[in-house]
Every structure is written in C-alpha cells, then in structure tokens.
Symmetry: C2
Subunit: 490 residues, 2 copies
C-alpha cells in the first residue's frame, strides 16, 4: 500500500500527532479498512523522512486508542470498522492523506526515475546555456508583424489548422533552410513543433519501443537522452573527440539501433564540429544498417568565423539509398524560447506518421504565432536579426574568453573540441575540489553555472562546466567571470 500522510514541519503540532491524526482520519472514513495492515514502520518512516520512533509512537497511540491492533512480529492492523463509507457528506474530506495508489504507466515511472536538473534561484550572473539575449528580442518589429497578420486575418487563422503546421510558415522555413543551410526540402516535409523538445519526443514515441537501442553521443544533450530513456531505449554511447562523434566506432553493436541522435554542427556540450568525411561516413553507415539519423541543429545559426559545414540532411540526398536523416531546427535560440516553435524536416516516407503523431500530441502549434513568424521571415526581419545577433554573440564570446584567460589563467581551459560557435563554451577547470563543490561555491556567490556531468552517462574525467554567454552583455560577462574566479579560486 502506498500511503501518504501530509506532514507539515512548520506547524506547532508534533510530527507524531500529525501522523496519528492522519492515520486515524483514514481509518475513520474507511480508506484504511478493518483488517488492513498498516505500512511497516521502516517504510513509512523512510517515505515521510521522519524517524522510526515517531512512527512507532503514532502506531502505539492508535493501538492504545483502539484504532489498531499490534501483532508482535507481524505488523500493525486496523482494528476499527468504519460503519460505512459515508460519501453523502458535503463536508470537504480531510486532505491530510493521499493514498496515492495510482496505476502509472511504465513511461511515467521511467520518466520520474530520470531526474532533471533543478532550476536555481535567480542568480546575479547567469551563465545558463542555451538562453539567447532576451533583452534583444526584436519586439517592435515582431509586434508589427503580429498586427499585420491580425489585420489581414481571415477567420481561417482562428479555426483548426493542419497538424503539420501553418502552410505559409512551412514555406518560409523551407526557403530559409535552402538559403542558409543549403538544405533543400519541400514544405510538405516540414512539421512545426513546440521546439526541439517536442520534435525529439515525437521521434522517440514513433521509433522507440522499450528495449530498442538508440545511439547517442557521449557526452550528449541531457533532455534528449531523457526522452529516449523515458521511451525505454537502451542507450548505446559513442564517445566524441575534438571533431565530434567518433563515427569509426559505430559497429555491430550499434547496427541494431533504431536511431542515432547527433549534434554535428555544434556537438552538445563539447562544441565539436563534425567534419565532412565523418558526415559522409555516418550517413553511409546509416544506409547500410537501416538506422535513422536524428540531426539536432539547435544553434548552427551562430558560427563566428568558420563557414558552416553542410547539414547531414543536406548531404543525405546526395548519397544513394533511402533517406536517413531527420533534421530538427528551433527558433528558441534565434528568437526566444517562450515562442515554442521548432520544426522537423522529414524524409518523405515519414511525413504521414509524424504528422499523425503531432495531431495526437496536441493537434498543431498555435496559428497566430506561426503566422507572425512567417511574416517575420518573409519580410526579411529574421535574417537581419540573425546577422545582428551573430555580431553581438561573437563579441560576447570573445569578451568571455578573454576574461576567462585573464582571471583563470591556466586554471580553466576550453574543451579541446570547442569551436567559436553557438551560445556556450565548455570549460575544463583545474580546481582542488570536485564539480559539485564548484557549482555550489558559484551558487553561493550568486552565479549560475551548469555542470557538465548531467551530459555524461559515465562520470566525466574532468571538472567541466558549460558557460553560456548569450544572455549577458560584455560588461556583465567580464564581471561575472571575475566574480566566478573569486568564488572558485579563493
């Protein structure tokens, strides 16, 4: 039995009395039926984080008061028969007990077992990765686009739309991908999602049964790993080096995988850029083994210096055989995360099922935001904004690197794979203590840094942290790094 008594440590009432009252309430209204065995004291103590003595005390009092009976060595049993469940009472039932005996699905159980990172309280300096410059959202232009869409709004914008997304937006994205990523696709191959997260989740649902194998990079993006693990995947890890995924290690073991999830443009979190020859080899391997490649291109828009390498999805059609690459893009980094718009570009034979999955998952993305974004792209605002942001993030990246150099010297090094791209850099620290201490020392000084260990399946060999530089200006970054050095090196 899964029994939970609400314990409030802020109350004056003792824990024993609260537990007693909760249990008695459950017995009185029949939730704990006559003859039912009460949970073992050890289990109840553990699940409520209270001492066994407290539980023993509460049980003794229940026995003394005649609500329960103790059989030595065999537990405590309910001795009181509630006359009947009297449900006609209009009095609210006591909320103190939730007998949470819920039949959760295996997916729900797995999801809960995978803890996500807790969000810290608002820090003075946040190096949180993946957050763009929220004070540079082109709000005025965005609202003009919103108004324009609103004025022209045929009532067609208000009804149910196609599950794959607003057609003009899919056309805008198709055009943008052709211009910026040399990725040619039909608007019909695009499905609009609630960001990268929904894209990954839909793919996991459609391709992963419990026990199926999924290949991921080690280290990798934790949220993706969580989605695949929640779907019940057996995760097969392939290490990355300074150039990203070590494609040559894909072998027999991996050949039975359904999917391989990769971040070739900016390996997450190391920053590696997968070279062209490895890209070809990866696609060839996928062709030979019948594996689908999930290419998460989460921030490839931001490269400062090097030219981008062709996306796997752009190379895919140049290699004979059925298409292998599912491409995921997002507007979370290039516009703002709260917009919740991303997209999948699909091999043609996957369109129908992914669209059906999206429909079941919530019908379609909100039309108003989609129409505004289409207008924003078509009017050229998007690519102008991108160019502006690219210059700004390049300067921010330079400022942060210089500050790290100045304040940390040889106590912090960029990860060997790091390229000047994206919105974060992975650093290796040389410190006389471990990662957990590093993060909490920073937190005590009001600084949020993200440890790298959640990205690793195995404990990492180095003390690493992801420092995001998208959301702070150059001055804040310099001050933040200085404060971080003070917190970690003093």
């Amino acid at each position: 039995m899964d029994l939970f008594v609400a314990i409030d440590r802020t109350l004056e009432q003792s824990l024993r009395d609260q537990l007693y009252a909760g249990l008695r309430g459950a017995i009185l209204d029949g939730r704990l039926a006559h003859g039912a065995r009460l949970p073992a004291t050890r289990a109840l103590a553990k699940s409520h984080a209270i001492s066994r003595f407290t539980v023993d005390d509460a049980y003794s009092r229940l026995i003394a008061d005649g609500y329960a009976t103790g059989r030595h060595g065999s537990g405590t049993y309910v001795a009181y028969a509630a006359s009947e469940r009297t449900p006609a009472s209009d009095q609210p039932a006591p909320e103190s007990i939730i007998s949470a005996d819920r039949d959760w699905s295996n997916w729900g159980d797995r999801l809960t077992a995978l803890k996500s990172q807790p969000a810290p309280a608002s820090p003075t300096y946040s190096f949180k990765q993946g957050v763009p410059a929220l004070d540079h959202v082109p709000l005025a232009v965005w609202r003009r686009c919103q108004s324009k869409v609103g004025r022209s709004a045929a009532s067609g914008l208000f009804g149910y739309g196609p599950p794959s997304g607003f057609e003009p937006l899919r056309r805008s994205i198709s055009g943008y991908l052709a211009r910026s990523r040399m990725l040619r696709c039909d608007p019909e191959q695009i499905v609009i999602t609630s960001g990268t997260q929904e894209a990954i989740d839909l793919i996991a649902r459609l391709f992963v049964d419990p026990g199926d194998a999924v290949v991921i990079e080690e280290p990798s993006y934790p949220a993706a790993r969580r989605s695949f693990a929640a779907a019940g995947a057996e995760l097969l890890l392939i290490p990355v080096d300074a150039e990203g995924l070590r494609v040559e290690l894909l072998g027999r073991r991996e050949s039975r995988a359904t999917l391989i999830y990769v971040t070739p443009s900016h390996q997450f979190p190391t920053g590696g850029l997968l070279p062209l020859n490895r890209r070809r080899e990866l696609i060839e391997w996928a062709r030979e083994t019948g594996t689908l490649i999930v290419e998460d291109d989460y921030d490839s828009e931001f490269r400062y210096g090097q030219r981008p390498i062709e996306a796997l999805a752009a190379l895919d059609p140049t290699i004979p055989g059925p298409r292998s690459v599912i491409y995921i893009g997002t507007f979370s980094k290039v516009l703002f995360p709260a917009l919740r718009l991303g997209y999948i570009v699909l091999p043609p034979d996957l369109i129908d099922r992914v669209t059906a999955a999206k429909e079941t998952a919530g019908r379609h993305a909100p039309t108003g935001e989609q129409a505004t974004l289409a207008e924003f792209i078509d009017a050229g605002h998007f690519e102008r904004h991108l160019a502006r942001m690219r210059r700004m993030y390049a300067a921010r990246s330079t400022a942060m690197l210089a500050a790290i150099d100045r304040w940390f010297g040889n106590r912090a090094q960029r990860h060997p794979a790091a390229t000047t791209a994206g919105l974060h850099t992975l650093f290796r620290f040389e410190l006389p203590y471990g990662e957990m201490d590093m993060v909490s020392r920073a937190a005590e000084a009001g600084i949020l840094i993200e440890p790298a260990s959640p990205c690793y399946a195995a404990p990492p060999a180095f003390t690493e942290a992801l420092l995001g530089y998208g959301a702070m200006n150059e001055e804040q970054l310099v001050q933040g790094v200085q404060a971080l050095a003070r917190a970690l090196l003093s």
Copy 2:
C-alpha cells in the same frame, strides 16, 4: 521487403517504363542486391495500385535486359551485381525508390491503424461540430490585451517558462473555475496544455500501458478513443442513455480499469447531462475501485436554459477518500481553436508527474499567448465574451431546431439525450438509405455534416449525424438546413 517506386500518372512516360526505370535504378546502385528476390507481382501491383500486367511487363523487360532472372514459380531475382555502393557521388540519388523499412514503434503502428476522419473540401454549408463562431473572435480586444502584455513585457516573458504554464494564467483560470463552475482549485493544480487533445494524450501516456483497461462511454469522443487506443488500451464500453453514462452498469469488469473517460456536462456526441446522483455514484465507484475519472468538460460554458450541474471535479473533494477526478477544460470552443490553449486540473498527488510529462512533450505552452489570455480573463473580457456568445449560440440553436422541424418534419429527431447546450446537436434521420449515402449526398450538395458512426465502437442502430451550429449565423443555418433537406429527402 517494402519496396516503393514513385509512379506519376501525370507523366507521359508509361507506368511500365516508370516502374522499370525505378527498379533498374535500385539494382544499379545496389539497393536491390544481387540475388535479392523482387516483390511478388501481385503485392507490388497492389501496393502501387497498378495492374499485375504492368508489373509483369516491367519484370520481363528487366529479365530481357539482364538485370533479373526469372525462376518459374519461384519469383524474380536480381541478376546484376552492383560493383559496390558508390556513396561518394555528389549526384543526387534517384528519388524514385523509397525502401521504407522503418522500425516504427508499436505506438506508431497502432496510431496508423486508427484512421481519423478525412477533412472534406470547403463546403458551402459546414455543420462541422465543435467549431465556434470564428467571425466573432473578439479580435480588437484580444489585440489590445496582446499590446498591453507586450508593453509591460519584462524579458521574463521571453525565456523558458515553467512547464505547468504561465503562473498568472493559472491564477486566472483558477479564479474563473471558482466563479463559473464552483470548482475550487489551487493554481498549482493546473497544467496548461495544447488544448484538450494534449491533455488527453498526456493522461494516456502517464496511465495507460498496452493491455491496460480504459472505460469509455458508448458512443464517445473519437479523438479521445483514438489516443487511448494508440496507447494500447483495452477499451471497455459503457452505454449512455438519455441522462448520459449508465453508471449502474460499472461492474467487476470495469473495476480493473486505470481510467474512465467521461463527458458528464454534455455527453459527446449525444448531449446528455449526467444528473447529480449518477455523478456521486460515479465518484464513489472510482473511490472504491481506485479508478481515475477523466472529466472532459469541453463545452460546458454553453448552456442555454438549465443551470449547470456541479462538475465531477467540484464534487470530488466532498466525498471522502483520495481525489479521483482529473478535469480537462479548453479555450478552443470559447475563444478559438487556433489558440491551442487548454488545461488540466489535477488531484494534488498527480501534479509532479503530469508537469514532468508536459515538459518532456514540449516544455511548455507559448508564453505570449498565455499572458494575453490571462490579461483577457483578468480584465473581464472573457466572461463578457462568454455571455455574448451564449446568447448568440442560443439563438442559433433555436433557429437550427426550427429549420429542422420545418424542413424535415418527422424525418429527423433530436437524439433522446439531447439538451440545449454546447455547439452541436445529434439528430436521428429516417431515410431510405444509410449513413454513408446520407453524408455523400450532403457533400455533393456542398454541405458538410458529420456522421455519428465514428463515435460508436459498435455499428449504431440509427442513422445519426452531428449538426454543429456554432460557425454559421441564423440565416446560413436556415438555408443550410433547407439545402440539406433538399439533398437528403428528394
């Protein structure tokens, strides 16, 4: 082998030549390897909807040209060895063949097996159910709220938000439910979703493993049934009568169910209103059996005449025991579907997992739309809009009923359960032909009506259709009904 050759009937090239070229291409580049058996002519003909003669012809030519060899009675085999797979070619691969041997998940397979209703071409008169008056969206006020939110926008509106939804919106909904539905809940019990559909999907994922039992009404809402069936549920049907679900029929068989999905305020599609005593009995049954009730309150805002009965979720806390009711509401009907905002009100012990599920499914609903809706509710616009719409829909309902009476006489009757509520009414027709003919006769006359059979698991005993009256004005409704009578009765 799942082999697909793209056949384009608009091309001048004959089907035989297209098939031949596609197969030869596959042999040349090694996708059809030496020794591989070509699909049986019957199977290939069927999957491509072409004649077996065409396939036989193409195969004969492949044999004549030396690409294949025929072994009488045992099929056709590839006779040509591609020198090797030459993937380095920069030439785009021929797209003509997709060897779609994908490892779909069981969920994906089940989802595909459940066909959804095809959307018909734009009709002159659309009686599509569930569509509100799209030309009465309060756009001016909505845009004022949008601007107000935009002006006051702290950059907090642009970053990642809480998975359960924008906190001010959850407060607004909590207040609205208390005022309108006598449903008291904490904002923390609310999770914002992409409409009813995502709410149902999240619940199905969290509570249904393949083989689990789910109780549904017969007839019931097809999209909900599809979600539960895709999750692998065994569906246990309980019939409805003029007062909705026949709660007294819930017995031993149903007691092992994880969930029971109900529409007590306006039974879908019949329109029945579940009386208070049955509501209490249902909750008591859920308590006794440990079943969760999913209360889909999709259009209870629209009652014209009768007072609403307390929601199950409002009764739930008045009956002793752990909470049993998950309540689902939506803004699709009361504002507009393209907004994609709905919500779940949860028993407290379910909050964490449903929130985690929502996070995995796509992080959170878009913040801008949530903030606009919160402002819209808090400024009182929402309830004013509701009152206006209620009057309008009442008039539309009356107009449609009168027109049905006038033009159909005793050839059409409201379903015995129908109440004056919501946005549609279920009618029973007396016609000398069946449902399919009814729908296609209407379609030929440019009229969209929704047949009731997709709502039934077993073939319905009557010829029924749902007539939605939300999206047409009174004049259109009268003309539409007249045109329908002409199409069906002549």
